[in-house]
Symmetry: C2
């Protein structure tokens, strides 16, 4: 066993190195690469994906997996060894169905589509992006076809599974239906009281250098460390890690709007912090990177909203923010600021949306993706379908494609099935939050003092250190003893926002 | 033929992509990577080198090369096809003698040694670096042993060949002996007239942002383009290209000394410009990157010195420099500035050395490298040997290791045999320069008007576009009709510096 296992681990380490090289090239593409290099970069990324895929689906890996199979019963499923074999086998079964050429072509097409998307977004012209989106969808269909006969109920299930192992469309649908049923009328009620919150202090003139330096001050307090982390500007914020000691956050600054960058940065911190805290013993194994995006988003959304839009957090940081931007906040009371950053208002851009309307942005994408995939919605009509749904769910008119269908990067990279994980992350974040609050009863007063040690310790111990050992389902079960449940999340929204907007909880609940 | 050739080209393209990914990771390591990521980065680089080496020395490449061998006579040796096959075969013959494990271990060891070198340099403590240097040397010996029986005259020839194909130690020795014989007394003569040049205007307070913005203004005028290039700060300046559309220069700023960054930036521009101008048809082939470092350095040293320290160049740019730094240069005449940037003065740091003493820094390293390799000089004694030679050649005392034996990055990465190419580059640069001046008789007046089009066109047409099709010997023969000759370079130094220091050319020549 030992020798076979070590051989397997060595091979997986090299494959992991290749994937991390690819991640660094991707980060570079979004943050540093000169624009004209995009075409060649697509080839480079395609080659890296092709090679790591080839190496992974090789006969050697298959044989090693078979050799360890017989002895797997002896392994503790919670051990690194047991988890590595279990997770690798699942990945292998899935990957070997996908030809390397298709894998490389998906990467190449996605990389080229990225440049087209950037241009289309700049010019707010969907037609520039359309042929690339079509190509990406074609490739998604080819990809889905690789899994014929494996018992997936829907084509969308195949894609979902890549972002949240074992997640089913029907399951997401149930959660989302409940969110929609509760949130649409709730947001309507809040809309009638919109004058109760004034967020004008968040709009004005916030020099980018000052924004960056304040964000770094916050990050350093909550867990960012310059020896192992970076923060760079980009068009569409994301986090990337290439090792537990190589964590890279990106953010987008808007000089006229403080919240755009600040909350995106805290959001990405949540992603980075997850992977920074993975057990170093998992380094250079497939277990070191968390592939369940709903777990990942539970962490980013938790930091962004449960911590970062919470009153205790700002009791500590608000005086610092006032000192950095005295003209904007000198005369604004903490309570007013707290209400401002939690203002609920239907708006155009998902990543800038408040906590309540955010989910409708996600649900809209989830529904459109299924229609795109089934062919029910011709891609030419996507902008109209998008705009119609924005009116239906949020009551707003989309003025142009840049602020509509072209706002997100995901489809350019061929990522269909990713969006739902944002709202699933919201749901999971509150389930975890409720659990950790019962175990750290004085959490609020710790946060008010700027003390993040116990919170971080809990997250590291219960969630982060395990890396990819467990699926989101297994993780939820281990921590909360149950499955995914939108109840706590809806309760949280009703309580927090109900208080801000002067809605009694029971009234909101009856809505 | 066509099908075999296409298959070969496709495989080489993937290998090239891997090498470029490695180059980008190397650039990132020196410019962006969080420090603690160094250990894992060493593994990632090792894996990329291991893989690209394995793929290159594979039986498939060997068989494809054999298949095309029979039909090679039909190929024009100047064509892309002919060159690709010729160059690949030479590379293959050499590479297949090196085990992939050794290749990867050299990379890993070099990458780890880099971190040790950074620390050793910061603390000016050679003993920190010593064990890593020892390991690098051990690996160099293993590497050299791979080429036993191939007719290399000396161990050093094996290493030289990697940086300048076909170059022999004896040939370098001959050139360097002539440089030494002429330059040591010449520098002595200048030393007696050192009061003739005052370079105090170059020392003062030059805010880094202003330095960067002036450097970019110069670069943009001479050929830098933000769509395909970058400029970043680093500890030890270098240039990297991952495509003709992805050219990255790095520089080091010193707030008290304008010339440190300015001339390093122009130097690195010369490297970048070479690879930016390679025929796009060579993209993603081994011909797209110039591996003859003496040709490469001929370009960087040409831009740095023949152009960048020339009077015509500054007739155009000096008024701009005065406008950016009026306090420093407002009262300094162009002629005085020109003399200042050409001041000859024995100094500690190679990359900051003037044109004349520079070569002695290089010769010192060339001589020490041979002693290190032969075992004649135990590595423990390297600092003393370094310091003794600095006194012998340049008459100066080395105060600490940071400004002595630890100043250069090369040995940390395991690059032994690279240094000579700097002075060979000097020699070649003037041979090319003489040729291009006969073909562009009014070059000086073009440069005075800030017109670089004809110069750039000549370089592109005669040198750059060919990429790696020809060796430095073949290239020199094609352009000048002869071989390497230090005569023009020594003549150039005597004339330029003789004029500045009021030495008659014949007097200097007699020295």
């Amino acid at each position: 066993m030992t020798k076979t296992y070590e051989e397997l681990k060595t091979r997986l380490a090299a494959i992991h190195d290749l994937r991390m090289a690819r991640a660094i090239l991707g980060w570079d593409q979004h943050t540093k690469m000169p624009p004209k290099a995009g075409e060649i970069r697509a080839e480079q990324l395609g080659t890296l994906d092709h090679l790591s895929h080839e190496l992974f689906i090789s006969d050697e890996i298959g044989e090693l997996l078979e050799e360890v199979a017989g002895q797997e019963d002896e392994l503790d499923p919670d051990s690194i060894e047991g988890s590595l074999v279990r997770v690798t086998r699942r990945d292998y079964e899935k990957a070997k169905r996908v030809p390397s050429k298709l894998r490389a072509e998906m990467t190449r097409a996605g990389s080229i589509a990225l440049s087209a998307w950037v241009e289309a977004r700049e010019k707010s012209d969907f037609s520039i992006f359309l042929p690339y989106l079509k190509r990406n969808l074609e490739l998604q269909h080819e990809y889905i076809a690789c899994f014929d006969g494996l018992g997936y109920e829907t084509a969308y299930d195949v894609l979902l599974d890549d972002f949240d192992e074992g997640m089913k469309t029907a399951e997401v649908q149930t959660v989302f239906d409940e969110l929609k049923r509760e949130l649409i009328p709730f947001i309507g009620e809040i809309g009638e009281r919109s004058d109760r919150v004034d967020d004008s202090s968040l709009h004005g003139n916030f020099p980018i250098e000052a924004q960056r330096s304040f964000a770094l001050e916050v990050l350093e307090r909550i867990g960012f460390d310059h020896e192992s982390w970076r923060l760079d500007p980009t068009v569409h914020p994301f986090a990337m890690s290439a090792a537990t000691t190589d964590i890279r956050l990106t953010t987008r600054y808007d000089e006229t709007d403080l919240s755009v960058s600040l909350f995106a940065t805290i959001h990405e911190f949540g992603h980075g912090f997850y992977e920074a805290n993975v057990d170093p013993a998992l380094e250079r194994t497939p277990l070191s990177q968390v592939s369940s995006m709903s777990l990942h988003e539970s962490q980013s959304r938790m930091w962004e909203n449960l911590v970062g839009r919470g009153l205790p957090f700002w009791r500590f940081f608000y005086p610092r923010l006032q000192a950095v931007f005295p003209k904007q906040f000198g005369d604004v009371e903490l309570d007013e600021y707290y209400r401002a950053i939690n203002k609920v208002q239907p708006s155009l851009i998902r990543v800038e949306a408040d906590e309540a309307t955010y989910n409708l942005h996600v649900i809209l994408r989830f529904e459109l993706e299924q229609q795109m995939l089934s062919g029910e919605l011709p891609l030419e009509e996507l902008p109209e379908a998008w705009n119609a749904r924005m009116t239906e769910y949020l009551g707003i008119e989309v003025p142009d494609d840049a602020r509509g269908v072209l706002q997100d990067v995901h489809w350019s990279g061929g990522a269909v099935g990713y969006f739902p994980t944002y709202s699933l992350g919201n749901v999971v974040s509150v389930q975890l939050w409720e659990q950790l609050r019962t175990e750290i009863p004085d959490l609020d007063s710790q946060l008010e003092r700027g003390e993040f040690g116990e919170l971080n310790g809990w997250l590291r111990e219960n969630l982060h250190r395990h890396g990819r050992k467990y699926t989101s389902r297994e993780t939820l079960e281990r921590i909360t003893g149950g499955g995914m449940d939108p109840g706590p999340y809806l309760r949280y929204l009703r309580e927090k926002l109900g208080e801000i907007y002067g809605l009694s909880v029971s009234a909101a609940s009856a809505a």
